[in-house]
Symmetry: D2
Subunit: 319 residues, 4 copies
C-alpha cells in the first residue's frame, strides 16, 4: 500500500472534513500518498481526482460540509460503474480507498473490496442510523443544532400559543428526535420505530397544562409525518394552535462539535491503519467507547434500533 | 411620581427582560417604587401585580422571553378594559406605567394617557416594524438567529438539492428577511413591501448556477407566502427540488445580543426619566443613533417602510 | 425508601441541573418524595433543605450552574460534620441521598453510607478526572467552550503574532486540554500526565512554519503551568511573541450540550433506581457506553489516566 | 476608473471579508475590474496582487479573519514605501484603492491620495476607536464574544470565589469594556478614558454582596492594566480571591454578526461609489445611522471619545 484515496458520499455531515483531515495526515505520517476524490462515487467514475498534501486539509477541522463535495450516485451499484471506478483508481496507481458516508457508501465499499480493491467505510451521517457503531460522525452536531432550536422555543412565553412542534430529520431512524427531545425536555417524541397514539399525546399535553406548564414541545421525526401534518391531526383533538418549526437542512450544517471532531479523527486514523494491513471490506466505528471495525456485509444486514430505555426515560422525565 | 409599574405585551422578544431590568433599576435609583404586572394588559385588568426590588431583576439580563409573561388582550381596546386597568393601578397607588411591546401596546399606552394616566411605550418586537425608532428590541437577536440558520444551510454541499428556502417571520414587514438575507448572502429576498416575479427569481438562480454556485438560498417573509407554497410555485418553473426551512418561533427565543441589551437598557432608563417629568403618551426609540421620544399618536399614523437602498444592495451583492 | 434528598457539591458543572431534574422527576415517578439541599454538604449540616416538586425543576434542563448552589465544605470530612448531616436528614425523615460532584462529594457519600445512610454519587465536574466513568457531566460542554475559543483564535490571520497559547482548566487531569487540543487542531498539547520538552515544542512550531502554517496554537493545562509562564519560557527559545488566552471560569458555564444533558438524565435516573434497591456507597457512571455503578471506595483508589493513544493521535494529526 | 484594488491592514476584524466581498461585487456590478492585495501595505509594496472575480469572494461573507491576510507595515509611512506602492498599482493599471483597517490604514490611504492616487478608507477594527463613524466593522462581533464569556461566568455559582475579572481588548479605547460590561451587567467597568478608584470598586462589590449578589464581575480594558494586575491590587483591599479571564485574540475571531455584515456590506459598496466619482482621501462610516464619508485628514485629528452617558447608565443598572 503506497497510495490511498478518500471520498465522501451521500448526504453530507459535519465532521466529514475532520475525518478526511485525519485520513490524509495519518496516511502521510505513515509514508503514504493520498488522493482526494471529488463528488463521491460520481467523481471516482469520472476521474475527478487530485493529490492531497498536509496543507490541503489545513483550516478544515472546524468547517461543516465536506470540501471533497458529496454526491448521491446510485449508478455505482452497477458492475459497469464499479469497474470504471477501479480503472480510475488503478490509473492513479491507488491501492486502497476510504469512503465516508452512510449505507450507500458502505455498499460501494463492499463492492469494490469484493472486486479486489480494499476499501474501508467510515460512518458519516447525522442520522445515527448505521449499524456497527454507537455513533455516526455528525450526529452529535445535529443534535446540538436541534437542541438550540428547542431551547430558543422554550424561551417564548406567550400565553395563547402553547404547543410547539419541531420536525427533525430521520426517515427511518428516530435517534435525532429521541436524543434532542430527551435533552430538550420535549413533552412528546414521535419516532418511526415506535407507534404512537394521538390520544396519549393529547393526554400528556393536558396533564402538563394542569400542573402549570406554560408550553409543550413535541419533536416529530420526518419519517413519521411532517410537522404540518402532525399539527393538523393534533388540531382535530381540541383547540390546539400548534406552531410548527421545520429545521430541514439546517441540521446538516454547522461547525462540528468536539465529540464529532474527536470521533472523526479517531475513525479516520483507524481506517488508514486497516489499509496499511491491506484489509478492506470493513467499516470502522465506535462501540462501547472503543474504536472497532466490522465486516461491512454483516453490518449491512443488521438493523439500527432505537434505545428503548432512553425512549422510556424521556417520557418519565418530561412529566 | 412615586410609584411606577411595568408590563410586557404582545409577542415576546429577546431583550424584554433587559428593558424591564433597566426600568426597575433606574426607577429605584431615582427613588421610585416599581411594580411588575404579569401577562400584559390582561394582568393589569386582573390586578396581577407585585412589587419589584433590585434583586427581582437580577440574573435576567441575558434571558430570552419575558419574566413578566406577555399576553395578547384585544379587550383592552374597550373603555371598560381601560377603566378597569386604571382602577387597578390606582388601587396600588401607581402613578405611571411603562409598556413594552408593539403596536397593540402603543394603542394601550396612548389610551391610558388620554384617560389621564401617563404611560410610556418601549418598542419590543422582533419584527422591527414600529415607527419612531430605527430598531426595535429583539430585532438584532432574531436576525442573528436567522443568520445562524442561513450559515448552516450554506455548509451543506450536496449536488442534487441546490435550492433552499427559508421562511422567516414578518407578516407586514420584511426587515428580518431583508437584513438576514443581506447578511447571509441570500440569492433572493422576498418581502411583503416589494412585489416579486417568479421569472426573475428563476433567472437569478440560473445565473448563479451558470457561474458555478453550488446552491442558492431564498429568504421568504411569511407575510408573502409560506416557504412550502413558495417551493411549490418555484417547482412549476423547472426541476427545482427546493428544501424548505421554517424557523417559526425559534426566531423569538435566545439570549439577547449585546446590541439588543444595550438598546433595551437605554430605552428602559429613558422611559423612567420621562415619567419622572410626568410625561406620558410617548414612545421611546433610537433614531439616528440617539435615544428619542415621540408622540405615540403620531407614530401610530406613520408606516414603517423598508429600506429600499438596502434591498437593492442585497440584490447587487449576491450576484 | 420514601423520601430522598439531593445536593450538588464542589465546583459546579454544566449539566448538574439536568441531573437534579432527572433525580427529582424519576423519584416522583417512582412514588418518592424529594428534597433539595442548598450549598452542598454545608447546607446539609445547616439544614438548608426544602421540598422539590415536579415543577421545581421545570425550565432548568438547559441552564448552566446549579440551582441548588454548590459549596466546598472540607469540614464534612470530620465525624462531627457527618453526624450533624445525618441528624438533619433524619429530622426531615429522608432515607437516601444523591450527591453530584467530584472526588470530595464521593468521600462524603462513602462516609455517609458507612454510617448507615445510603448515598449515591454522580460524577459532575468539567475536569473528567473521576474514575468509574468514561465521562463526567460537564466535560463535553467545557470542551466545546474551549473549542469555540480555539476556533475563534484560528480565524485571526495577522502575520506578526503567530503563536497562541490557551490555558485551560485541569490541575491534575489533562482531559480538557487533550480533547480540545485534538478537536481544535492545536500544534502542541501540554498536560500534567505527560512531561514535555520545550525544545520539542519549538521544533514542532518551526516545522509548521516551514510548511506554511500561518499560526500555531498551544493548549496548556493549568496544572502544568500558567499560560503566561509558558509564554515566558517559550520566549527564551526564540523571538516568539506568543499571545495568551486564559479562559478561567468561562469553562464552567454555558448551557449544557446534548451529550451532557442525556448523560445527566441517565445517571440521575439510575441513582434513584439504586436507592430504591436500598443500595448506597455507589457511584454511577458511563462505561463502554453503558450506565454502570461502582463501589465508591474502589473508585477513589483508582487513578484517572490520560488516553495515551488519543494523545499520540493529536500529535500525528497536527503536523 | 476602470480597475480598483483592495487590501486589509492592521489587526484583523470579523467582517473584513464581508466588506471585501461588497467592494468586489459592487465594483464588478459597476463594470470595474478588481484586484486583491495580500498582506496589506506590505503586499502592495511587494506586488502581491491578484485579480478577483465574483466567485473569488463566494462563501466568504460568514468567515472571520480576512482572506486577503493582514499585516502591520510601519515602513509604509515612508516616502519610499508609498512610491513603491504606487508603482506597483500603476504596473497593474489600477486607478483606485480601498483600504480596510484602523488608524494606520487611514494614514496610508491619506498619503496615497496626496500623492495623486485616490484611496478610500473603511473602518475595520474591533476596538471601535476610529473617528468619523459610530461603529467600526468587527466591534459588534467582538462585543458578543465578550458577552458570551460574561454570561458563562454568570452561570457559575460557587460560594467561595465570588469576584471575576475579565480582561478585554482596548489599549486606548474602552468601548468593548463599556458595551460588554453594560450588556453583561458587570458590577464595575474599568476603561482607559475614566480614572477609577479601587476604594469605589470595593465599595460597589460590598454593596452588591450586602443585597445578596452571589458574584460580581469586573470588566477591565487591557489599556488600564492586565486582569492579573487588577486582581493583585484588589486583593490588597480585602480577602478577595478574584478569578481572572483573559480573552485575548479570541475577541478578534468568530463569524461576524448580522450587524457587522450589513455594515461591512454598506461601507464596501459606498467605497466603490466614491472611487467611481474619482474621490479619494475619504473614510466611509456610519453616523447617525446613515452611511457617510469624511475627509481622512480631519478624522485623524479627531479623538474617539467614550459615551459618558452610557458609562453612567452601566453604573446605575448594575447596582
Amino acid at each position: 500500500m503506497k497510495r490511498i484515496a478518500i471520498l465522501t458520499s451521500g448526504g453530507d455531515a459535519p465532521g466529514m472534513n475532520a475525518a478526511t483531515r485525519a485520513v490524509v495526515r495519518k496516511a502521510i505520517y505513515e509514508g503514504l500518498e493520498v488522493y482526494g476524490i471529488n463528488y463521491g462515487f460520481l467523481g471516482l467514475v469520472n476521474g475527478d481526482i487530485r493529490k492531497l498534501e498536509l496543507g490541503s486539509v489545513g483550516d478544515l477541522l472546524h468547517r461543516g460540509g465536506t470540501f471533497l463535495y458529496s454526491a448521491r450516485y446510485p449508478e455505482f451499484a452497477t458492475e459497469e460503474g464499479q469497474l470504471k471506478g477501479i480503472e480510475q483508481l488503478k490509473k492513479h496507481q491507488i491501492d486502497g480507498l476510504v469512503v465516508i458516508g452512510g449505507d450507500g457508501s458502505y455498499h460501494g465499499a463492499e463492492a469494490l473490496t469484493k472486486r479486489g480493491f480494499p476499501t474501508i467505510g467510515i460512518p458519516g451521517t447525522i442520522d445515527n442510523d448505521i449499524s456497527g457503531t454507537d455513533f455516526t460522525i455528525g450526529f452529535d452536531t445535529a443534535l446540538n443544532t436541534v437542541l438550540d432550536a428547542l431551547d430558543k422555543i422554550r424561551d417564548t412565553a406567550t400565553s395563547h400559543e402553547r404547543t410547539f412542534i419541531i420536525e427533525v430529520m430521520g426517515r427511518d431512524a428516530g435517534d435525532i428526535a429521541l436524543w434532542s427531545g430527551l435533552a430538550g425536555g420535549a413533552e412528546a417524541i414521535i419516532v418511526p420505530e415506535e407507534s404512537f397514539n394521538m390520544d396519549d399525546v393529547v393526554d400528556r399535553l393536558n396533564k402538563g397544562r394542569e400542573r402549570g406548564k406554560k408550553h409543550s414541545i413535541i419533536v416529530v421525526a420526518e419519517g413519521v409525518m411532517s410537522g404540518n401534518e402532525f399539527a393538523k391531526q393534533l388540531a382535530e383533538y381540541g383547540d390546539y394552535h400548534a406552531r410548527v418549526t421545520v429545521l430541514g437542512h439546517v441540521q446538516r450544517g454547522g461547525s462540528p462539535t468536539a465529540f464529532d471532531r474527536v470521533l472523526a479523527s479517531r475513525l479516520g486514523a483507524r481506517s488508514v491503519e486497516l489499509l496499511l494491513e491491506n484489509r478492506g471490506g470493513l467499516a470502522v466505528g465506535i462501540r462501547e467507547n472503543r474504536i472497532v471495525e466490522n465486516n461491512i456485509g454483516e453490518i449491512l444486514k443488521e438493523k439500527h434500533t432505537l434505545d428503548q430505555k432512553l425512549f422510556d426515560l424521556a417520557s418519565i422525565l418530561s412529566i
